[in-house]
């Protein structure tokens, strides 16, 4: 296993410290540029006790996103959102006290080239990067230049990933490992898939890197259950559905507080 002290960057250090203090990690997601004043949502996330914040750079052809995030991406693009504008907005937001992690499809990374892209992330104060269509065997072109720019590329693990490959993903991933809870796209679901626990267990077997479960986690109950298997959760579509329905920062903070409380309660249970 990689030496965590050497490998860990700011995002991983932050998440490890919180995890090691017994806290369930919460990483809410927002699509950059989805509404005017969208960066106010980031402040609401931080105020609600987020441990990291994921900001999506919208792409025209999101092949791993369900309807809600597709709609959010289209809305943002129709409003003129672009990588450059979203990063400028982030740079102007000031320190939120939690790491920022950008997620986007690889075409936007390649557009200016991985080096320029990562440098731009770094300038905007972004410490982490998720690229859902860049699996570990194609990631070499990005990971080294990202590391040089101080950007931690978190890789995704899926229920269909064989164990040997999972070990490779966990070893190459930086910041955290993003475990996709279900064979499907992003989007709210009624319950946590059985595959989530199984995958989390398999990731646990190969790394002690922070492990976040995402895809389908949309209620306090699911967050609580996810916390039993992983270090924390990513909540995207459940946030974005509210944003698309007109929720403001206060509404989002209230929603995330319910997740925060659920995670905290789960942490209080004997483990």
């Amino acid at each position: 296993m990689t030496n965590p002290t050497l490998a860990a960057g700011a995002v991983e250090r932050h998440l490890r410290a919180r995890r090691d203090a017994g806290r369930g990690l919460l990483m809410p997601y927002v699509t950059g540029g989805v509404t005017p004043g969208w960066t106010d949502h980031l402040r609401a996330f931080a105020a609600a006790g987020a441990d990291a914040i994921e900001v999506g750079l919208p792409f025209s052809d999101p092949t791993l996103d369900g309807l809600t995030i597709q709609q959010a991406s289209q809305t943002a693009l129709a409003r003129g959102a672009s990588t450059r504008r979203i990063l400028a907005d982030l740079a102007g937001t000031g320190d939120l006290g939690v790491p920022l992690v950008v997620s986007t499809y690889y075409n936007l990374v390649l557009h200016d080239g991985p080096e320029a892209f990562c440098a731009a992330l770094s300038r905007a104060g972004v410490g982490g990067l998720i690229v859902p269509d860049l699996p570990v065997h194609e990631a070499g072109e990005l990971t080294d230049v990202a590391a040089a720019a101080g950007v931690e590329v978190a890789l995704l693990a899926s229920p269909s990933t064989p164990q040997a490959r999972l070990a490779r993903i966990a070893e190459r991933s930086r910041g955290f490992v993003y475990a996709v809870s279900v064979m499907g796209t992003t989007g709210e679901r009624a319950g946590l898939a059985a595959s989530a626990a199984e995958l989390a267990g398999r990731v646990r077997d190969v790394t002690d890197r922070p492990l976040l479960l995402g895809f389908g986690i949309s209620s306090p109950e699911q967050a609580r259950e996810a916390r039993r298997h992983a270090d924390g959760v990513v909540v995207g579509a459940a946030v974005m559905r509210r944003v698309l329905d007109g929720a403001g920062p206060d509404d989002l903070r209230a929603f995330l507080l319910t997740l925060r409380q659920a995670l905290d309660q789960e942490c209080d249970r004997p483990r």
Binding site: T63, S82, N107, L110, H111, S158, S160
Partner: protein, 401 residues
């Protein structure tokens, strides 16, 4: 052994159109840029394809299906009156005469057979013009599989007849309302759907695009066009190999299959794209639908909509092998606009009694233009793949003519 090469017998060009390099690369293009949830499914398809393609039993079964169901071999038709008018000797490889009316059936029968070998009971597919959807629905019916075809709402309006055909064949046609409501959005939706059903369904990609092994596998299933044409040409024409080989390019499957039969000869290869969908001509490096290739993009890296009167050509990119052939200079990619293509369709109808698909009419339009400009030397031989018949386009043409 291949048949006799052309008269000058130049050294064959660099080995091209063989197996891709490691990680599914054609030069710097290709690869498997799929969500992690699809990587294992792609690996399974690759393994199954490698085994099947090396298995004479599989190849014989496929060859038999292509013969008794799809109607292969398709003829090589000399376009006599048009040739006389153009001053070149034009031969048409008649994929329009296959069952279902386009080259798409070659690939689909291959993939459907592979799917049954893998134990899959269901095919999913995307379609633009509807031809790949119809072929998929047909193969599914033939082999007793279920078929779900994703199609952009706009294409469903343009190709209502093909929608009906698919449904009549028992396929489910799912309208895609996202984005431009055309082929690229249908492809995205098919990929999203596949993520949830990898265990039961085979994603039957319709062109030489998508994550490894699809660009390679689809080209191999379409290679039958080029291999047949080469043998037929050698039998028909003294020179053995045509001077020029021309095919239309959307994603580029009929062109890839045609070119594959001639990649090791001195024939000059030409891919003809729609002006509004010229991935090889105007695309820039990117990653879409699982592969690294050339795609039409705006200044922010968003994929832009392609436009063509031929629904099969309005994909905003080309298959990775075409991007590589372009870089090597082994194939040249040129463009033709809607009006020129319509003119060519009418001309073929009136000189040869063949109504071509508007996609194929693009290739013909370029032949007509290049013969007129002298780019195709007088008396030179031209092989052009007529990828599909124009039945699906007659209502479009009726409104314009």
């Amino acid at each position: 052994m291949r048949s006799v090469l052309s008269r000058q017998e130049p050294a064959p060009p660099e080995e091209t159109m063989g197996e891709p390099r490691a990680r599914g690369r054609f030069g710097e293009y290709g690869g498997r840029y799929a969500p992690e949830s699809l990587v294992e499914a792609c690996r399974e398809v690759e393994e199954a394809f490698r085994q099947a393609w090396a298995d004479p039993g599989f190849r014989n079964t496929l060859a038999d299906l292509l013969a008794v169901h799809a109607g292969r071999p398709t003829p090589l038709t000399p376009a006599r009156r048009l040739s006389q008018a153009l001053g070149v000797r034009l031969y048409l490889k008649r994929e329009d005469l296959t069952h279902t009316g386009s080259h798409k059936i070659n690939n689909v029968l291959g993939q459907a057979l592979l799917a049954t070998r893998m134990g899959r009971r269901r095919l999913i597919a995307e379609t633009g013009a509807g031809q790949h959807g119809v072929a998929t629905a047909t193969a599914a019916a033939l082999l007793g599989l279920r078929a779900t075809v994703f199609m952009g709402e706009r294409d469903m309006e343009r190709q209502a007849l093909n929608v009906f055909r698919m449904r009549m064949l028992g396929a489910e046609v799912v309208p895609v309302t996202a984005g431009s409501r055309t082929l690229k959005d249908a492809t995205s939706e098919a990929m999203r759907h596949w993520v949830g059903v990898t265990g039961e369904a085979h994603y039957c990609v319709g062109s030489v695009v998508g994550p490894d092994p699809y660009p390679w596998m689809v080209r191999e299933f379409q290679r039958v066009i080029g291999d047949e044409a080469r043998a037929q040409f050698a039998a028909e024409v003294r020179t053995g190999v045509p001077d020029h080989v021309v095919a239309c390019v959307g994603g580029g499957s009929n062109a890839a299959g045609t070119f594959a039969g001639f990649a090791d000869t001195a024939a000059r290869l030409f891919g003809v794209e729609a002006e509004g969908g010229a991935g090889a001509g105007r695309g820039r490096l990117g990653v879409l639908h699982g592969c690294r290739s050339l795609f039409l993009q705006d200044d922010d890296g968003q994929i832009t909509e392609a436009h063509s009167i031929a629904a099969g050509l309005d994909y905003p990119g080309v298959g990775p092998e075409h991007a590589h052939l372009r870089d090597l200079g082994r194939a040249r990619y040129v463009t033709v606009g809607d009006e020129e293509a319509i003119g060519a369709a009418v001309r073929l109808a009136r000189t040869e009694g063949i109504v071509p698909a508007l996609e194929s009419a693009h290739a013909l339009a370029w032949v007509i233009r290049a013969a007129g400009s002298g780019e195709l030397a007088a008396g030179s031989t031209v092989l052009m793949t007529l990828s599909g018949r124009g039945d699906k386009d007659v209502s479009t043409l009726k409104e314009l003519l």
